[in-house]
Amino acid sequence: MNYDVMLDVRGLNCPMPIVKTKQELNKVESGKILKVLTTDKGSIKDFQGWANTDKTIELIKQETEKDENGKEIYVHYVKKK
């Protein structure tokens, strides 16, 4: 999956993943895609809920990866419309 900017907010809990993502989106042009890495499981539903209410973004994809220690990372691809 292609992306333009990667944002690593691993270790942060709600509300910070979305706050940091919004902050990062302020810096990029429309059409750009952010890849956001989180470790907060609640962020999966949080990003979905956010995308349902915010018309300026699109949640393109969510997936789960594992880090070198086998710990789960939740990955969100967010596009600035």
């Binding site: 509300p15 979305i18 919004k22 609640g42 809920g49 956010w50 349902n52 209410t53 915010d54």
Partner: protein, 395 residues
């Protein structure tokens, strides 16, 4: 200074009908799925935190949002309770509200804590007979512990077993057996699990060990209940009355001829729906017959149901119980059955069915021992309030 409040403290305030304004910061989807509901003086606003974030400086963004958009909706003279999913966002928001001069409480642990919060109330407490109401408030689920001479039973135990075992241990009693009034569709029973861990029998009517929609037998370790059975618990007697309708194996338990544990038959505000087995039209006449049979018990009989729909159903002691004689007048469905007869009552029931929650089929599979789920999946299946009564209970 941000003040914290626990789910139990909040619930006690809600029971007293204090003036309460809650701000729920979760996304509209989550809010729609499940939210706190209160009495008349209760108000809840869904203000999604993500829409407050502009610059990314969270304190500045929240304060801006409050000043610009909330100053008309909330007052500095009345307490405001803030809640989110797990308590992190609400703590930050509460601090910002408080710094702007509002009287704020952060609901600790958020909806996650509220969702799994159990309330305990005493119906009666003597060495010969004690009855305790154990309620999972967020879902409107009620269960009951009976203790007589240190022997205990649980009627309709909800999913979290330690909520029962800890309480009963504290009372110095020992669980003798577990009773379910029926195979529940809205929540997961801990009856089979308690039975296995404590090595005590779990009783259920055998008709309810068959999944009504899959039409296949469950895989449960249980003892058969039947109409007329009598259990001895200490010096107390518990009689089984078979009342099919909500399920085919639905029973109620009459304790010492006085306390009627009605499960899903008679509730305070309404009666149980007959369609959760997928055969509403066939089961509605059975339900009418069964409910009518129960109305023939003495008016002094005390009804202790398995659900409530609204917190306003609680009496001054926070108990969701009422005398049968009073319910015959105040419970609209029951009153209709008595005054207009079974035919009209059946028509009324079938025209008052709320939406059938699709996950109820799956929950019944869990309760029939056909599938197992982990806590996360169980939380998901049990999201929201029970929908076991007729629709007027939810208006």
């Amino acid at each position: 200074m941000t003040k914290n409040i626990s789910p139990s403290e909040l619930y006690e305030k809600m029971l007293k009908d204090e003036n309460i304004t809650i701000i729920d910061l979760r996304s509209p989807d989550k809010f729609k799925n499940h939210k706190i509901e209160g009495k008349d003086n209760f108000r809840i606003l869904n203000i999604y935190y993500a829409q407050m974030i502009e610059t990314g400086d969270i304190d500045k963004d929240m304060k801006n949002y409050i000043t610009k958009n909330l100053s008309n909706a909330i007052s500095k003279d009345q307490p405001i309770y803030v809640i989110c999913s797990e308590g992190g966002t609400s703590e930050i928001f509460a601090r910002n509200l408080s710094e702007l001069g509002y009287d704020v409480y952060n609901v600790v642990g958020g909806m996650k804590e509220w969702f799994n919060y159990y309330d305990y109330k005493t119906v009666i407490e003597t060495p010969e007979l004690s009855i305790y109401q154990v309620s999972r408030i967020s879902r409107g689920d009620l269960s009951w512990i009976i203790i007589s001479n240190k022997e205990a039973t649980i009627i309709d135990p909800l999913r979290h077993i330690e909520k029962y075992t800890d309480f009963i241990n504290q009372k110095g009693a020992k669980i003798k057996f577990i009773l379910d009034t029926h195979a529940h569709a809205d929540h997961i029973s801990s009856g089979p699990k308690l039975s296995k861990i404590l090595n005590v029998p779990y009783y259920l009517h055998p008709y309810d060990a068959i999944h009504p929609i899959d039409m296949i037998p469950g895989k449960l370790n249980f003892e058969y209940l039947k109409d007329g059975d009598v259990f001895n618990l200490g010096s107390a007697k518990i009689e089984v009355i078979h009342v099919p309708g909500h399920t085919l194996g639905n029973v109620v338990f009459l304790l010492n001829g006085k306390y009627l544990f009605t499960g899903d038959t008679i509730f305070i505000l309404s009666v149980a729906r007959p369609d959760l087995g997928g055969r509403g039209e066939t089961w509605a006449p059975l339900q009418a017959e069964s409910l009518y049979k129960l109305t023939q018990l003495p008016d002094e009989t005390i009804v202790l149901p398995a659900h409530f729909s609204k917190i306003s159903e609680a009496n001054e002691q926070g108990l969701y119980i009422e005398k049968l004689g009073n319910l015959k007048k105040t419970n609209d469905a029951l009153n209709l059955l008595i005054t207009k007869g079974k035919e009209e009552f059946i028509r009324f029931m079938l025209s008052s069915l709320p939406v059938f929650p699709p996950q109820y089929v799956e929950i019944k599979r869990v309760n029939a021992g056909l599938i197992e789920v982990d806590d996360e999946k169980a939380d998901e299946l049990e999201t929201g309030k029970n929908v076991c009564a007729l629709s007027q209970a939810y208006v």
